[in-house]
Amino acid sequence: MPALLVEIGVEDLPAKEAGLIAQAFRENFLRALAEARIPHGKDRLFWTLRRFALLMEEVAEKQEDFEEEVRGPAVAVGLDAQGNLTPAAQGFLRRYGAGPENLIRRRVGAKEYLLLRLKRPGQPTAEVLRELVPQVVRGIPCSKSMRWDGKWSFLRPIRWVVALFGSEVVPLAVGGVPAGRRSQGHRFRGGAVEVRVPAEYAEKLRASFVLADPEERRALLLHAIRAVEEEYQAKAALSEDLWDLLLGQTEWPKPVLGRIPPEFLELPEPVVVAALREEGKFVPFTQGNRIAQVFLGFAEGEGDPELVRRGYEQVVGIRLRDARDFFCQDRKRALASRVPELKEIMYEARLGTVWDRVERIRFLCEILAEKLALPPQLLARAAFLAKADLLTVMVREFPELEGTIGGIYARLDGEAEEVARAIEEHVRPRGKGDELPQTPLGVALSLAEKLDGVIGPIRVGEVPTGSRDPYGVRRRGSAAVRLILEKGLRLDLFALIDEAAGQYPGEEPAEKVKEFLWERLRSALEERGVSHDVAEAVMAQRSGDCLGVWERAQALQDLVGQKELVDLALAFSRVRNITRGSEVDRFSPELFLEEAEHALWHAYLLVRERVAEAMADHRPAQALKALLALKAPIDRYFDEVLVMHEDQRIRENRLGFLTALVHLFLQVADLSRLVVPG
């Protein structure tokens, strides 16, 4: 079976989006082929910012045949009283060119209908592709699509299309461009590239200075970066953003090494890093916490490296001179003097200005200082200054320096080192993989900032839905939970939210905030490898002590699969089931009649003490271990005791006791939620 190649040639896509567009192209294409019942072999995706292409091996030459049923008129309409075809039924047959012998009757819902079973022979693949490929391309989601000739819209204009099935061109058109076998090589070196058969695509392009395989480009970039790291004993200051841009920016990357003019090496390292990697232009390197003198750029194509290097150095010089100007301009005033101007920056219409936000963060910090035993004045000072760098030229020009530059300026202003560090750290983690703050004050300030960014928007009704999350509430919620779990913060988050409730405008109850954070905690547990049922078990009762929930989850997860836990879970489930609906956990041992009741009661008293001790020490594994001792007495209890005694007093006493037992378990986990084998 022949191979299929479809390449869409475009004007330069945004470097960051090119890969996503290609992925969506592939997914749509594979889905469409499956729906069209066209089997195929392995596929390979190629892309650069000027093209995306899918190469598929062993593509069937025609669709698989299939049978289709079409529904005609209801029997009551299609047949008359004598069972003869009415004009409606005759028309139905005519439309499909079928005879009365092909008709079948079937009940669909309440009525019986006449149906035709039609054999549909598969169409030739080339034929199907004519419609399918343009639809596949139309279905690619673009961040912002444009029109270029009035009819089509896409991320950038479509300029050439290659569609080869075996050695034949498939006569289709995308974006008004008819397909052929002519691709384009590199903008300057390549020229037109005739592709005879799909298999030679990548090699033909390589000969025309295009590395169409992104993995090959990635390897090349990485190799060049590692070489510089080794030669200069430096470390590349890469970021996810920078990587995406580098990978998407060139079809034929050519590493060019430049040097930073020495007079700029005195600028703070983060400033130089930000200036160099702005828009994905250059890869900066650091040596310890100093900037290295070399930087790396990746030129598109085979230019003159000497000319390009000079150009790069000129540009870097210009941008760093800018940065130095910004620095001098900013340093004319102390950071603290800018704080009142935060009253002029709107945060959100109902939540007020950034200054209002700072006041709320300060309030949260006050509570946190007390709960976490931190120096309140220093934390308050850090909170007061935290957002002031939003007013600096540096942050306006390099938004990624938010927080970082505040810390640098604070230090230069003579603020306490802990304060400067806290300001620097309070924006972390910026995203999922980002580092957490390291200092206790930084952790607390970051937590306060994140919580304010969750409580505020939710209280005024901005709960994130689907992909809509304009205030980054989800990101902040996850960050807050992460801080608590990974920094081991023992505090009642829900009590904190209640205490701060009065600081927030908006009609939504604080309860909504708790619910939201509780669900963030659930995701956090599952991301950390806690299975769904274990999370259910430890989250059966809501608690503001997120760290405690996490510790209990770990303890329980460690026992999953062990027989003794399964047995205990089964035993507990019996207790849980029979007490469902009872809340009262009062009982008098004098009313116990059976030996087994007394045995369980004694075991309960002992275990209760051990659980209380273990939980007070935050050792849920010990608590779980203690609970294991209840397995045998519970089993015996159910073998020998009839809970639903005919005497109401006896019955209620037994239920009260078992409910107390349930409550003991729930302090650790609701083991009845565990999925047990068998």
């Binding site: 004007e11 330069d12 896509l13 945004p14 470097a15 960051k16 989006e17 910012l49 912002k144 444009m146 029109r147 270029w148 000739d149 009035g150 950038r156 204009p157 300029r159 903008r187 300057f188 070196r189 920016q249 060139t250 050519k254 060019v256 828009e279 232009k281 250059f282 750029g297 030129a299 598109e300 194509g301 085979e302 230019g303 003159d304 000319l307 390009v308 000079r310 150009g311 790069y312 000129q314 540009v315 870097v316 010089g317 210009i318 001179r321 800018d322 100007d325 002029e344 920056i345 709107m346």
Partner: protein, 287 residues
């Protein structure tokens, strides 16, 4: 290209050959060549339109007292409008670089994603900044909307940063060292002007009078629009836009107020675009 004026002349010649009308800068302050009526009105409506011109562009907030080698309160743009754009427009642009003496093959040329938007004009488009060895030398935009009106056909706008290209061509680090003409530097021509305008815009301009003038020109624009005098209305809109830029550079506008001023200019621009399509593009004038 030994001088900046050679550069301008070479671009004129090149774009003249591509069928552009070479026109003169418009005689009012504006932040970019896009504000020139040859672009603002030219891209509206269905008629094909090709034009090229130099536009001295005033951005008061970008002034640096003549002390920064590449930032100025007034810089020079070379502006080209192609409506509708030819399919090989990227190649055509690269050929224009060759025409001014830049051999793209020898350099690192990147079409780097940069969508453009002018909140005051109610205009947006998508496109690129062209990086020549990392230096941004041209803004390349497929206009999608102007004055809040969807464009059909779309236009391509090319905006060359003349100072930056000249820095590159003349191998200089500071624009003030550039030769404008033989024996005449950019610094001699413009440095003192930069210094004075920076003082004026950042320190001296009367906020009170600028506000009054804004109100005055806004009222005048409204009056003109009421009588279907589109071009005079647009002139007053341009003046409002520049006064807004002045107030902004002067640091006189708080965030919320800033938004309000932008919205006021945008409302005028939108009304001008609509009036133009209704009154002018429809029948009375050639374009």
């Amino acid at each position: 290209m030994r001088t900046l004026q050679d550069l301008i002349l070479a671009l004129h010649l090149f774009w003249k050959e591509q069928g552009c009308a070479i026109v003169e800068p418009y005689d009012l302050e504006k932040g970019a060549g896009t504000f020139n009526p040859a672009t603002f009105f030219g891209v509206l409506g269905p008629r094909p339109w090709r034009v090229a011109y130099v536009e001295p562009s005033r951005r008061p907030a970008d002034g640096r007292y003549g002390e920064n080698p590449i930032r100025f309160g007034l810089h020079h743009q070379y502006q080209v409008i192609l409506k509708p754009p030819p399919p090989a427009i990227q190649d055509l642009y690269l050929r224009s670089l060759e025409a001014v003496g830049i051999v793209p093959q020898k350099h690192d040329v990147k079409f780097a994603h940069d969508d453009w938007e002018s909140p005051t004009l109610g205009a947006w488009g998508v496109g690129w900044q062209i990086w020549l060895d990392g230096m941004e030398i041209t803004q390349f935009t497929y206009f999608q909307q102007m004055g809040g009106v969807d464009l059909d056909p779309v236009s391509v706008e090319l905006t060359y940063g003349l100072e930056r290209i000249a820095l590159f061509l003349q191998g200089r680090e500071s624009a003030f060292e550039l030769r404008w003409a033989e024996g005449l530097t950019y610094g001699e021509m413009f440095r003192e002007r930069e210094r004075q305008f920076s003082i004026y815009h950042f320190e001296k301009a009367s906020v009170e009078r600028a506000r009054l003038l804004f109100d005055f020109h806004e009222a005048e624009a409204r009056e003109c629009l009421a009588q279907d005098l589109v071009y005079p209305a647009y002139d007053h809109t341009l003046r409002c836009s520049h006064l807004f830029n002045t107030l902004d550079a002067r640091g006189a506008l708080a965030t919320a107020e800033r938004e309000t001023y932008i919205a006021r200019v945008r409302a005028l621009a939108r009304a001008c675009a609509e009036a133009y399509l209704r009154e002018v593009a429809g029948a009375r004038a050639p374009r």
